[in-house]
């Protein structure tokens, strides 16, 4: 089993190294360098105290949890960056994606990959629908941040209880084996977890590249800076906003499916329980920054799992949030946020 898994790991690793190198070259030497330095230093200290194997194994566990956080957080940060909308319904978009996958995979009996694709499409459409039915009219009327935020909260409840109405509250699962695991260099990772990490990382890198390199990505970033100015320069803001929702909600749907596939079960509260961690990944990385969400998610995941070496695992959530507080005290804009974004 380890023979097949080893080559599969390599592309992911190279991609990460390339990303890190590119980032460093792009002169973000400050925050990224310091963060990496601290993570490596903490890792080394833990290795001296608890041995390489334990630290590496928990690091792998943290990578898995971190990928869940990062995948969910990117859509959240995208919507905030482009539309300045704090979307409390984002967690429930994840849940929606997971239940659509359940419908396709278990009720209709189609393979999980088809279920994931349909879930992404359905959730993306739900995102666009919410834009057309709620956010665009509200923006046209000049609604304030608070009104919009409360509306997202309302939408979150509508989606969650709609799911409860349709599927009930008992736990459901996708037709996926969650118990098989592969072992690489003595480190164990669930087979589904490995697939989720690889697919998740590839998606996140692709999205980041899209934002950076394509015309659409540039337009999205232009909108993020100033919607009025972007429109003056001839950007069709409506088209870009719809594209943003397609990406953000589609990613939420994907995150929901991958998350449930890896953990093995879902309830209507799934996204709601995750939402706080998603927000902290976003804030940790710097609001509105896709790389930041990725880094924030991974940092949160690894910090939580490493902390279990030192203290009782039941406090691991508190450790994640303590790190959030400390980082924000030192860098209120988040790790990769730009200062001017903080009002």
């Amino acid at each position: 089993m380890s023979g097949t898994a080893d080559p599969a790991l390599r592309p992911g690793r190279t991609a990460r190294r390339g990303w890190a190198a590119g980032r460093l070259a792009a002169a973000a030497r400050g925050p990224l360098g310091v963060t990496l330095g601290i993570v490596v230093a903490v890792g080394l200290a833990l290795t001296v105290a608890y041995g390489l194997h334990d630290v590496a194994q928990r690091g792998v566990n943290g990578l898995v949890t971190g990928t869940y956080f990062a995948l969910g957080a990117v859509g959240l940060t995208l919507v905030y960056g482009t539309l300045k909308l704090v979307n409390f319904a984002h967690g429930d978009l994840l849940t929606f994606g997971a239940y659509i996958a359940f419908l396709v995979n278990v009720t209709w009996g189609l393979p999980v990959v088809a279920a994931a694709l349909l879930a992404v499409v359905a959730t993306a459409l739900l995102g666009v629908l919410s834009e057309r039915a709620m956010w665009r009219p509200m923006r046209a009327r000049g609604a304030g941040l608070l009104q919009l935020m409360l509306m997202t909260l309302g939408l979150a409840f509508v989606i969650r209880y709609g799911i409860q109405l349709a599927w009930g509250t008992q736990p459901r699962r996708l037709d996926v084996d969650v118990t098989a695991s592969v072992s690489v260099l003595g480190l164990r990772i669930g087979r589904t977890e490995l697939i989720v990490v690889l697919v998740g990382m590839a998606t996140l890198v692709a999205v980041s590249a899209m934002l950076r390199a394509t015309s659409l990505g540039r337009q999205m970033r232009a909108l993020a800076d100033s919607m009025a100015l972007a429109e003056v320069t001839g950007i069709d803001s409506d088209r870009v906003v719809v594209a943003t929702w397609l990406f953000a909600a589609g990613l939420a749907g994907l995150a929901g499916v991958l998350y449930t596939a890896a953990i093995g079960s879902m309830t209507p509260n799934l996204g709601f329980f995750l939402l706080l961690s998603l927000f902290s990944a976003v804030i940790l990385g710097g609001i509105g920054n896709a790389y930041g969400a990725l880094a924030g998610g991974l940092l949160l995941g690894i910090a939580q799992e490493w902390s279990t070496l030192v203290i009782d695992p039941r406090w691991k959530v508190a450790v994640g949030f303590a790190i959030l507080v400390i980082v924000l005290i030192m860098r209120p804009q988040g790790l990769f946020g730009r200062k001017e974004r903080i009002a």
Binding site: N61, V64, I263, R314, K316
Partner: protein, 441 residues
């Protein structure tokens, strides 16, 4: 303004609760309802003042959430109890009747509190339920004592409930975990043929999990056994790989894990993924007992596992009669704690009848008296006779389907039957034996 309207609301609630001698409470602030705290084991029975009331019993059941497998059987048991009570009352020529209303607690303390308030404002004067210990603690503190409505939980086994500051409004027909933890330690010792093995302990981090595992640890160490852990884990986490790694570390001889199904689906998957977990050496308790392993639990995480759960005496006419009534009614199949909820519902009515009142305060005062000696014993089999005795003011001692009950001053049963179960390779629960445990005096 706001304070005024709130006061009015409280007055409305109090007025609807107060049937006897409590009407003046809205005027004075020091609310002398605290007198309910006097437990009344010694109180001599008297002829009830009023036997023509209709008692509204509220049934707090977990129809959804973690404990949803227990919900429908619990609801059915309460319905059956009311049917039996009304038939027996008619036979005895007693006018007092019972009616039951159900509310879903969603296996969640906040929802349980809301459901309890909703039942009480709907007229319920005595509540059967709630089920999870965390729900019972929440309802005890924010509803039962404050609105003077007794609650009788069929399944909250958390040892801490005995010590709740509940003014004597909290009862349970399920035995305390102190009893079950000791019973499980006995079972583990017997099954492993001694206490040489080191046990790795783990539990969900809540009142039930932590309370149980700590009492188990104490019981096992008292026998001279060694343990590692307990690893306590937050029930809302996405995965438990690091926790699972700790639980299997050091090649323990066996595991004792206390959890509910929803969380164990994830914890179990993480345990199996470690590659060093063997469910054949897992011991657990009532939280993971169900007719068969639900499909959200990876089979390898639970097949072969052994555990204890509160049972009902296997032999005896009472349990046979209950099983017959239950089967004849159709619907939900038997489930752990169904009979406990049947008894809880019965006790609500019997205590109200003895009090001659459907006031919560009076019902709570009679609970211990009707459930424990001294008095003429009666059971489900001669329910009409018992009801007649109570109506004539005789002292009685009701023995439930689940056992003698015999509430102590904390509202806990002092004796209980436990079953030893094991999941067979098909994932079906098999009962391998049963025994009775009594609380140490």
């Amino acid at each position: 303004m706001q304070a005024g309207s709130r006061t009015r609301r409280w007055c409305a609630v109090a007025a609807s609760v107060a049937v006897l001698g409590f009407a003046g409470a809205c005027g004075d602030d020091d609310g002398d309802g605290g007198t309910a705290a006097t437990t009344s084991g010694e109180q001599a029975a008297q002829v009830p003042e009023d036997t023509s009331f209709q008692l509204q019993i509220g049934n707090l059941v977990p129809l959804t959430g973690d404990l949803s497998p227990f919900g429908p059987p619990g609801r059915k048991a309460a319905d059956l109890a009311v049917e039996q009570l009304n038939a027996a009352a008619r036979e005895a020529g007693v006018e007092a009747r019972a009616a039951v209303e159900h509310a879903d607690t969603e296996s969640n303390p906040q929802a349980a509190v809301q459901a309890a308030r909703q039942l009480i404002s709907g007229g319920a004067r005595c509540l059967a339920g709630p089920w999870a210990s965390s729900e019972t603690i929440a309802v005890a503190e924010s509803v039962a004592a404050r609105q003077e409505t007794p609650i009788v939980s069929p399944s909250s086994t958390d040892a801490g409930i005995s010590e709740l500051d509940d003014d004597g409004f909290v009862f349970r027909t399920a035995p305390s975990d102190t009893l079950q933890a000791r019973a499980l330690a006995d079972v583990v010792e017997r099954e492993l043929g001694g206490t040489d093995a080191t046990l790795s302990l783990a539990a969900r981090n809540d009142a039930y999990g932590q309370g149980f595992i700590e009492r188990f640890q104490a019981a096992w160490e008292e026998k001279g056994g060694r343990t590692t852990g307990p690893v306590l884990y937050d029930p809302e986490q996405p995965s438990y790989n690091s926790e699972a790694g700790e639980i299997v570390a050091g090649r323990p001889g066996a595991w004792v894990i206390i959890d509910f199904f929803e969380t164990y689906g994830r914890m179990g998957a993480s345990l199996v993924r470690t590659g060093s977990f063997d469910a054949g050496r897992l011991f657990t308790a009532d939280g993971l007992a169900s007719d068969r392993i639900p499909d959200t639990i990876p089979a390898r995480a639970l097949v072969g596992a052994r555990g204890t759960r509160p049972g009902t005496p296997e032999s005896g006419e009472v349990i046979r009669a209950f099983a017959r009534i239950y089967a004849d009614a159709g619907g939900a199949p038997r489930q752990t704690f169904d009979a406990q909820n049947f008894d809880a519902t019965m006790l609500c009515y019997l205590a109200a009848l003895a009090a001659g009142s459907d006031d919560g305060d009076d019902i709570a005062e009679q609970m211990q008296a009707v459930s424990s000696p001294p008095g003429t014993k009666f059971t489900l089999l001669n329910l009409a006779e018992g009801i007649d005795l109570i109506a004539r003011g005789e002292e009685v001692d009701f023995d439930g389907v689940t056992g003698p009950i015999d509430f102590d001053a904390n509202g806990d049963p002092t004796a209980a039957t436990y079953e030893i179960y094991r999941y067979d390779p098909q994932g079906v629960l098999q009962v391998e034996g049963q025994f009775e445990a009594r609380a140490a005096e």
